[in-house]
């Protein structure tokens, strides 16, 4: 990268004018620390990475950076935790990463059950403050140390979403800096004096302009403040823990919480049981625990992982529902729900885990579904993982999804590490109104593997999605590749992108490839 050329120096000077020396960096060592993320494709690009790292302190700073980007035509992207995705696209000249570390404001509105957060506030921080006042926020498996805002903006699946809804449904008022530097407020924040307690509108809901199952990576706007829903928490102020890391245990008070792990003879039986549980509207958290996730979350070391895997220990429970009953109203509610669940288990042919397995798993892992802690263990056995292809539709469609996605993987990717066939995560939302499935696989972080899993494979799958159930792979495929298979939804999106990002500076290599669209238009004009 041409560090130090005249344009680079000019951009640096202007960024320092805006933020001050302390918060702008272009040194080789500093930028090197932003050269790769978990989606190891960026590792392949580690010879080229960003040229600037900036640390804005507030929304006005962000606006000014974006205005500079438009004036001097340099691309930028944003990051909070920086684990997934933000860095892999930093592959163009003069790329500037906006690192939100300084923007860490958090305010809880206890009465109206919401929290206003800035980008670098973590889920754990939100939950710690929320639990003090009897509230909580659901946390995805990636880990509670990751940004709450980013997870709501990007994806955000978790077991408590069974009750509290998918992340998209937990976003209230937002403040965004558009790619042209204008400030946008959505929901009730758009109405002066209203506050940020409500998410819709006014009028058509522009939240969905930047998020479906997954978000737009900041391509259509940078969220600088988000209000998220909090939900009632009938538990203690602090999580009760014992032991010392990595052998930490967490058990919630048994008068208000109870975990059940129920195995089923077939996947179909498991799905049927989930439907019945959803119909009964019990439980605070429910999901299918698949053997692979159980294996990597439980194991405290690689050796333990392979030992249990070779013993096929967790594979003994291939079709397991993990459900935690929460006594929101009272202890009596817990008793009632236990009775209901036990009836359902009997009717649906489920079998409770033996106590040995229960005591092995529950104290160490189960409450990673209350506050996610062991997500990064995904990467223990190979260095990286692929989060697979996300599917959301009915619970029944899960039964067709997994064979389809394995077929895709068989066709396009090299083998994952042991356990590919056992990765079969299922969550449901809004009491089983709809469901999501995900198969993730760990793989060895080596160049050939990375290229195979995350390089060409993504492009192929992105194209080959027309009739697929596994349609929403998100890692690298821009929407202009997938759009033609889905009613050309990318065409109006490109117009919107062009209108608000005329210089194509906001994360230009992700989400929507405007250069590719421009080329296609030129080709079409020629042939016309």
């Amino acid at each position: 990268m041409p560090l130090g050329d005249e344009k680079h120096k000019l951009i640096y000077k202007e960024l320092v004018n805006v933020l001050g020396f302390d918060y702008v960096a272009d040194g080789a060592a500093i930028v090197r620390a932003y050269s790769r993320d978990m989606f190891a494709v960026s590792v392949l690009r580690r010879k080229r990475g960003p040229e600037f790292i900036v640390l804005p302190g507030n929304t006005e700073d962000v606006q000014r950076i974006v205005q500079l980007a438009n004036r001097y035509k340099f691309p930028f992207s944003v990051m909070s935790g920086g684990w997934m995705l933000p860095l892999m696209g930093a592959a163009k000249q003069y790329w500037c990463i906006i690192d939100f570390k300084r923007m860490n404001g958090l305010k809880i509105d206890e009465k109206n059950m919401c929290a206003v957060i800035e980008p670098s506030v973590t889920h754990a921080q939100v939950q710690a403050e929320a639990m003090k006042v009897g509230l909580y926020n659901g946390i995805p498996l990636v880990g509670a140390h990751m940004s709450a805002l980013a997870n709501h903006a990007w994806h955000g699946w978790h077991g408590t979403a069974y009750r509290s809804g998918f992340s998209t449904r937990n976003i209230l008022g937002m403040e965004l800096v558009l790619p042209d530097g204008e400030l946008l407020t959505t929901g009730s924040l758009a109405s002066p004096e209203a506050g940020s307690f409500w998410g819709e509108g006014p009028g058509p809901d522009l939240r969905n302009l930047r998020k479906g199952i997954v978000g737009d990576d900041g391509s259509l706007g940078i969220i600088t403040r988000m209000t998220i829903k909090l939900h009632p928490w009938p538990g203690p102020r602090f999580l009760p823990t014992e032991g010392v890391r990595p052998q930490k245990r967490c058990q919630l008070p048994t008068n208000r919480f109870k975990w059940y792990f129920i195995n089923y003879p077939t996947e179909k039986a498991l799905i049927d049981a989930m439907y019945e549980i959803g119909k009964a509207e019990i439980g605070g958290s429910m999901e299918r625990f698949d053997p692979q996730r159980m294996a990597y979350e439980y194991a405290k070391s690689r050796q333990e992982y392979w030992q249990l895997f070779n013993e096929r220990y967790w594979q003994s429970y291939p079709n397991t529902i993990g459900i935690c009953l929460w006594g929101f109203a009272s202890e009596r509610q817990l008793k009632y729900e236990e009775k209901v669940l036990e009836q359902i288990i009997e009717e649906t042919g489920g079998k409770l885990w033996p106590d040995e397995a229960y005591q092995k798993f529950v104290p160490y892992v189960a409450n990673s579904r209350t506050r996610s802690i062991w997500g990064p263990r995904w990467c223990r056995i190979g260095g990286s993982m692929q989060t697979g292809w996300l599917m959301m539709d009915t619970l029944d469609s899960v039964l067709d999804y997994f064979p389809t996605v394995w077929e895709h993987m068989n066709r396009y990717t090299p083998p994952y590490l042991e356990g590919q066939g056992d990765s079969a995560w299922v969550l449901t939302f809004d009491f089983c109104h709809f469901a999501g499935a995900d198969n993730a696989g760990p793989f060895e972080k080596q160049d050939e593997q990375i290229k195979g899993v995350l390089g060409e494979a993504m492009e192929q799958i992105g194209i080959d999605t027309k009739n697929s159930m596994a349609t929403f792979e998100v890692a690298t495929t821009p929407v202009n590749v997938t759009g033609p298979a889905f009613a050309n939804f990318h065409i109006p999106l490109a117009k919107i992108k062009k209108a608000i990002d005329p210089n194509n500076v906001s994360n230009p290599t992700r989400f929507i490839d405007m250069d590719a669209i421009a080329r296609a238009e030129q080709e079409k004009a020629k042939s016309d």
Binding site: A33, G82, R237, R245, S301, R302, P403, Q420
Partner: protein, 425 residues
Amino acid sequence: MATEKGKALSLPTDDWNSKYYWDMRKVAWNCARCSTCKWVDVWEVKDARFAKICPSSLYYLFDAYSNQGRMDLALALIDGDLTYDDDPELLDIIYKCNTCGGCDAMCKGVQDMEPLRVMLEIRAKSIEDGQLLPQLMPIIDNLRKEDNMMMGKKADRGKWAEGLEVKDLTMEQGEVVFHAGCRVCYDEELWPVARGMVTLLKNAGVDVGIMGKDETCCGGRAFQMGYQGEFTKYAENNLEAWKNAGVKTVVTGCADGYYAIKRLYTQLGAEFEVLHIVEYIDRLMKEGKIKFTRNVPMRVTYHDPCHLGRRLAQAPGFYVPGAPMMGVYEPPRDIIKSIPGVELVEMCRIKEYSWCCGGGGGVIDAYPEFNNFTATERIKEAEATGAEAIITACPWCQRSLTDAVTDVEGKMKVIDIVELIQQAM
């Protein structure tokens, strides 16, 4: 092997992915950038304000200053993608770290890795490559000349013990040596602490002696700074001196020294019993040889020194993947709770997820404002508990925290655990 899903599954091609062993490049390569190294164990986060574990990341903000960033730099240096000349800030990045091990402890919860060891090896490598941090050079020069890390004169080392009736192990044999440590020897305000330790042991009937003015640095802090050669020299010297004195047990009140002697010296074949003063007192207390008879009505909190805690599980050669990050957590707490009238309230970050005092890794010498920031954060955390005193078990911690209280004109008392014990006897 094929499965019913139709595809051959694979086992790792690299045996490192089956069973961990130390390989610096593999560790650096394998960092997944999950950022676990920056944050406290999430199950233990009780307050948003006290959720970070890495002082360097909190103070300097850019990711290069976190363990994750340093893994990227280490990889780049190893692979030749980055040289020292590429960035004048590189050496600062390497050294603006307390080596508290918080990052490493958290990382080990989710990975089989030794990222702290990588950072220490990079320091050693940079010194080998002739890249010396200017701020540390006078410290090391003085060490070489005067056998201490405090810019003091060797001749003054034994002054803290003047008038103390205790065996001189340079003249006599003794089973237990009390190693005072550089900080205490040359920080006059802390002399009463060391004197108190010796007196306690003696009064409990322990046959304790000291090396006095002939005591030399344990070499531990030099090791943290990357000067492994210096460390080895001092370690060998101490081992020889203690062997000659017939020592079987080494006791110290300095957590840095405790770690060095307990963990690093074993690599050189040491076979002594090594105890921190809190372990010894806890043992004596439970044997009934120390009794607390006076009421000490005080609300206190306890600061876990890094080298008395998680660092013990992180020493090179001591890492066992999956094993708990054990440290000396309970003995000091048992002692405090046994003192009548004392109420112990815990801070948010304790034990293996404790916040550092800021004094380690050469930071107190090279980056005093960073040291002060880290210590001030700890004082604020202590204040949030409502405690009137913060108890610690390391003179480096005591110095860092005391200076932080002074700088903010705070009211928090900073007390070594032995000082608290003395109030109860």
